[in-house]
Symmetry: D2
Subunit: 480 residues, 4 copies
């Protein structure tokens, strides 16, 4: 495969992919031409474009430990603590450009998680997954394809384990083992960037038991493989992406990642692309590692996205003549405080990262967990404060169509005027951006991306070393 | 005018109104036939329908102190503390029916605020506003028209007073005084239920100074009067209201009130409909009273709406098999705690209400203020918890169009299945309802309806009696 | 018994009680002379003193439904909703006088809870508890004794029921039934006002099962009965109460209620003072009622105490020259907001109160629960804000002994000076008051008085009517 | 001076210091023998003791960049990012040993702040402060004395600048310049570890203006210099430190730092110990640097202290039989989440640290600020949760004197028994530890140490780069 270097390459590669994408009950012929999908593609494309900017080279690229060549950082295996920190800085940088999700970290994290776990599986079971995975990785690094990491299964009744579900396909599984490969069935939900990725790297969705070996599965699948179907999830204000005008808020880059349900209807996967298959005891470790690597990110990208929210709110205040009010200044300071708290988490878990047996570096899991858990709260509070500063107009503004209308357009301009010298249109644009970034989908992604709050709460019990803390307390209280 | 009694009457009356409503740059011929406006009409219509149900008569109707006749409570002037409490109970009742805003409280509060203030103006200035207003009130009670209360001006640059704005029309004002009436110009923003009301009762937007007499204005205007133009505000997921299927979430009643920008382009108002005109010193009192009467409501309607959120979240958990998890139970309890906190505020300010010189009863302003201020926080937290319980699927669910599609519909059904026996469609419906109730517009209304948080914060300084509190503290600390 | 009317009567009656009080390992001969106990007595005495003030008569007294005589409201059985509301207003009033806990509401609530439940027990079991209790009540009303309500048992291992404890006495129980009465053993913990009450009205600590009949016990016991031992609980900064000077902060009234552990070492109780004995199925109802009646209070007294905190914080700011800062004003407003939220809860549950079969009125249990649950959070936040406003000096201030010292006293005065004209001593006094009201014991009382937070959380599941809420949500989502 | 190496050396050196310490109006002859001061000395002594443990050498010691010798890290100038991170790890380590404040970081931060600023002053003004300071530093490193950093002035009326105060001494100042040195007057408040340090390194309390040159002052003063007087601040439950028994909670190490008011009554300082004198434009920079270096710490020490709170709360639950309850587990997880959030802040600002012109490394000021601001909230919430888990008993427990008493001791033991096999005494000890760590003084220190919350809020405006954030938002909203 020819390496994807520019935005143009990337778009051309998607045109040629011919994967089965559905949008609102219709098959999409060319995702790059669909107005509702294009913003997500634009956002992901920046991961290619920025890598070509000399001023961003240090963050956006890395040197492959396999080939020694310069590669896009999104295909890199972390070799040092500095790599872990650069990852976070890169995410905040791109978030400043997009104000949205650029999606490619999911695959990045999947590559790293499978890499370090494949090594450990081989150590334990004398398998050859690691070698196969290094080959796969080399292909990704050289072709520079966009990989989506696929973890979350539909899960059906959450109170039942995979093998107890009414429909066994509610967790993705191996339905057939053949000499040349396996056949898989199931689905992965909420697949960020799914419709504009080239391949998916599947992982199990949770720890698996003895009788759930068929669900202990990791493998890579091209998204245009026969039997793969992608159904795009409807976003908040979905239709606005298809309109003229600025009501979509962030017309270039949309909002969050453009999630899809990806169905695997008896898809064949050759053995060389299989990296876990039946070693059920290792499923939990792989899940935990991916979760940690992905939670690590959230203070980087959401920190950056929050910076935009702060800037937009400050502008909204300025345009309305309230920027000088002390309570506005305090609310902006609070938003910055929350944003920097998120960022601190990502930096800290990176700085406390360490080397795994595979050689790859891994962020501190307890601190990564802490980072993501704060995101599930602070992004809501940042949105709340942005609404507070914006005023009710952020929810009752006329349509762009009204602004353009010959009869009422002048009233919209007249009565949405703010501080002198600020065109009503500027004010409307910044309010639409805030609306875009603070609505349903944007919030929920912060809640559930990289695992729900309870998934993190549970980790404190596991990683918090409560026994050691009890010993310290006993010693101070002089209890024998 | 023939009295409006049934939903049918109400819809017919709107058909005949021929007011100038604009939606996305187009004039709407018949609001009752427009799919995006109909849900708001349905919600408001319930204020008529429920008044006909014998089981709700005590809450939904009252006896007019003017005519002695049974009237719709939304046209009543509170005569007792019990009236104040019944108002809150009525609001929670209707919220349980609609899960949305039924809009008519705004005019209800305007009627009460103008009533008690017209009386006081007359006492001070020997004017005859009160008598004129009683006549107007009688007309409202007998015709049972829906009145929108009009307070919020566009306000332009918030750091400048009305008379200092670049455009003097950014606050609604009298542009001409004639022997038979006045001519007014300006606009009112965020007018809840504007497009499906019959009349508007204007009030000033803030206290006014000596040189702002033209802005000290209260009057009633039919919404089909020449020069009145209504521009509908675009809501979150606006388009879904125009679709088949259930993606709109609350297909019958929409969300919040259907706010409009109402423009007054040199509208004539006869003197008999003018209730404040130039007595600038009374503007502040009228504003404060309307604000109090309106803030009183928020624990009633939002308490009721939150009940629906609790129920929907409990169902979502049930459908997904998580209802038995202790953290889910705790989150549902927390949501109920917050909902009852809101309701307590509304009940308390009503129970502590008192009689004004006009004879009308008035809720305790400090406690009403407290109620609304809690709403600006707790509704966001309730939404956050609902998202937590719902899972990421609430933001990535396929379109209704996918469910209906012959190729992918079966995958949607298969992979969105939850607990056994629950159709995927039921699960999708309840998640769409949660999405509807927890998105941008629904949140912002809780933030800014009845005044922004800062508007309430300021009231503590004014109503909190800090000097008394300091005296108590000094006495205890034995400081002379 | 001669009726207790004045503070002098009250103190004299305590002198004559000769109950067995222990303080720091020593038997206290006369509680009224002990400097650490006197502040609590002063606070309780105000419940007598204020009842003699004509301006407080409406709140502080009531007319007995038994005798038709004017009685202290703390001995009254609520006869109307207005009685419920007056209770709250009375509590806030006394809190403004004491800035502390005046303790007598516990017995007040116990009297009401046992009254309404004795009636119901009789209805069910044809017992004669109600008649006996009316006689006891008449004695309380006529003598005007202070009664402590005794509910909380030590409970030992909370994961075990009473009958499974290693020591069966960890829940108070009947150890012997005789013809003339019963003999009881056990203890009640955290008994507010215990050391300065005359009698205790015992109630069970939780619902009881078939095999726990001996623990289903309610009876009245004079605190000077043989076998009753009271051990005073050590408070935050306990010693300061015994000092000269103002370091105790609230030198007259101390802080919270002066809790005691009351031990019952085989205490005899005649049958006429027994109001529940073995009817285990009624224990839960009695507990729930007492809990509701007691939770009802917390927005009254803590609302009043918070008013003092607001006033003291405002003075601290004034004395330090920060009163004009916008962030200080905002924090004071926030404190008032939280205080009024608490008060609203108490008013609301009272306004929504209703008549029980006994004729006594009962506050709405769901809203009473909500009130108390907010107290477990807001009092901490109010303390936090008070600390914020006060500055670090509230924790590092020199001793009163330093102020009085001839060598360093002048430095204390010189360097603790604040705004001009404010003596350093005034500033120190107000900071000591804040310290007193925001420290450990004061906070914990807000957390655990009237039941721990989890006790309230559990009630939402029981009283929140989740099934109804689910039905409403289903109807709106059009799920069959 | 002989180098202080062991705890014994340290105590001996304090004995020989003969500094003028006052405690409750009395001069203390030997601080090392005073029961209320000893715990603070014990805590500080650990900074010497742990440096002698081989397993802690990497954290507790460093190599001097001046002498090349191994020194105690508390006297080190940070030479790398790794030094910044080790500082945080060291603080958390010692906090695990003491559960309290070990005080010595204040001087550590002062040394670093003055070092880097003295360099910059010299660059600007051609002065020789840096060389003088290197000599002073070498003395500190070699003698290993404990230095307290002195910043906070009494400040009098906060609305007035130093030169406008009624008493010019309310900010510490130079009252006389002589050929051999200067004479200073004023005081420093809240001096952590003051009574058990050897020297104080003074810094100005805020940025200074042209007419406030006498207040632009930094110098080192031995605490036994003539004219220096130390007045110990009264802590929560101060007296318990002087008792037998365990009621003090942390009997070995007390709580927080043992703050003192240090008065300078015309104290002479030779020029060689003066590091800023009149260069008023540099005062602000020195303040900001000390603030940053000190705020950096708070997630280290408070993170460690919070670990103890988690452990103690877990034990309290275990001893009471509630450890298995889901809400208890959730609260413990929440406490750990908050503790790790604090720690993340400290790690992050260290990892993002950079080199100053002097060569010394400096933590990221925005992130250091964020860390401390979270401490002002989370420590209160951790205390609140600890109270929740502990139960009301933490505030009503009998005295240690009761436990020892022959008459009532057996009742205390009997009725404070918890889970089987746990002596009542163990339960009491752990509750006393929680009480110690969650009361007034412990909380306030978290609020105001290293600057009040508002001091941090202001920094967001200064360091948050709002203009850049506005530019990003404008670009995305496509506003020119």
């Amino acid at each position: 495969m020819k390496s994807i270097t520019t935005k143009k390459d990337y778009i051309q590669s998607l045109k040629e992919l011919h994967h089965a994408v559905y949008y609102n009950g219709k098959r999409v012929e060319d995702v790059t031409e669909h107005p509702a999908l294009r913003p997500h593609i634009n956002a992901a494309a920046l991961t290619y474009e920025l890598a070509l900017c000399p001023e961003h080279e240090a963050l956006m690229t890395a040197v492959s430990h396999l080939s020694g060549k310069k590669i896009n950082r999104f295909t890199h295996i972390h070799q040092t603590v500095d790599d872990l920190i650069k990852k976070i800085q890169m995410l905040r940088l791109i978030a400043h450009e997009t104000g949205s999700c650029f999606q490619r970290c999911v695959g990045f994290d999947a590559l790293n998680a499978v890499y370090m776990t494949a090594y450990d599986i081989d150590q334990k079971y004398k398998t050859d997954y690691f070698e196969k995975f290094r080959k796969y990785l080399l292909h990704v690094q050289e072709s520079n394809v966009m990989v989506v990491g696929g973890m979350t299964d539909p899960k059906g009744d959450r109170s039942l384990s995979p093998s107890k579900q009414a429909d066994p396909d509610l967790f993705t599984r191996v339905v057939q083992r053949q000499s040349d490969g396996i056949v898989i069935r199931g689905a992965k939900a909420h697949m960020t960037g799914g419709i504009n990725s080239h391949e998916i790297l599947l992982m199990p969705t949770q720890a698996m038991k003895e009788d759930e070996k068929d669900y202990a599965l990791s493998c890579a699948v091209p998204l245009n493989a026969p039997g793969v179907i992608l159904i795009f999830g409807r976003q908040t204000n979905e239709e606005r992406k298809c309109e003229e005008g600025f009501d979509a808020g962030n017309t270039q880059f949309g909002l969050v990642g453009g999630e899809a349900l990806i169905v695997f209807e008896d898809v064949f996967v050759p053995w060389e692309n299989v990296f876990l298959c039946g070693e059920h005891e290792m499923a939990g470790l792989l899940v935990e590692r991916f979760a940690t690597l992905h939670r690590q990110n959230y203070g980087g990208c959401k920190g950056g996205v929050s910076d935009i929210m702060v800037g937009a709110s400050a502008l909204a205040a300025e345009y309305q003549g309230t920027a000088g009010a002390s309570h506005i200044k305090d609310k902006l300071a609070e938003m910055m405080h929350l944003a920097e708290t998120l960022y601190s988490g990502s930096v800290a878990c990176s700085a406390m990262g360490y080397k795994t047996p595979s050689g790859a570096y891994y962020p501190d899991p307890l601190l990564a967990n802490t980072t993501k858990h704060n995101v599930t709260r602070h992004i809501y509070e940042i949105a709340r404060l942005a609404h507070d500063i914006s005023g009710g107009i952020v929810a009752t503004m006329p349509f762009h169509g009204d602004l353009k209308n010959s009869e009422v357009g002048r009233y919209v301009k007249k009565y949405l005027a703010g501080a002198q010298g600020v065109p009503a249109e500027s004010r409307m644009k910044i309010l639409r951006l805030i609306e875009n970034m603070s609505g349903g989908t944007a919030l929920v992604e912060s809640m559930h991306g990289a695992g729900s709050p309870q998934a993190q709460k549970v980790m404190y019990g596991r990683l918090g070393n409560l026994e050691q803390k009890k010993r310290w307390a006993k010693r101070l209280a002089q209890i024998d």
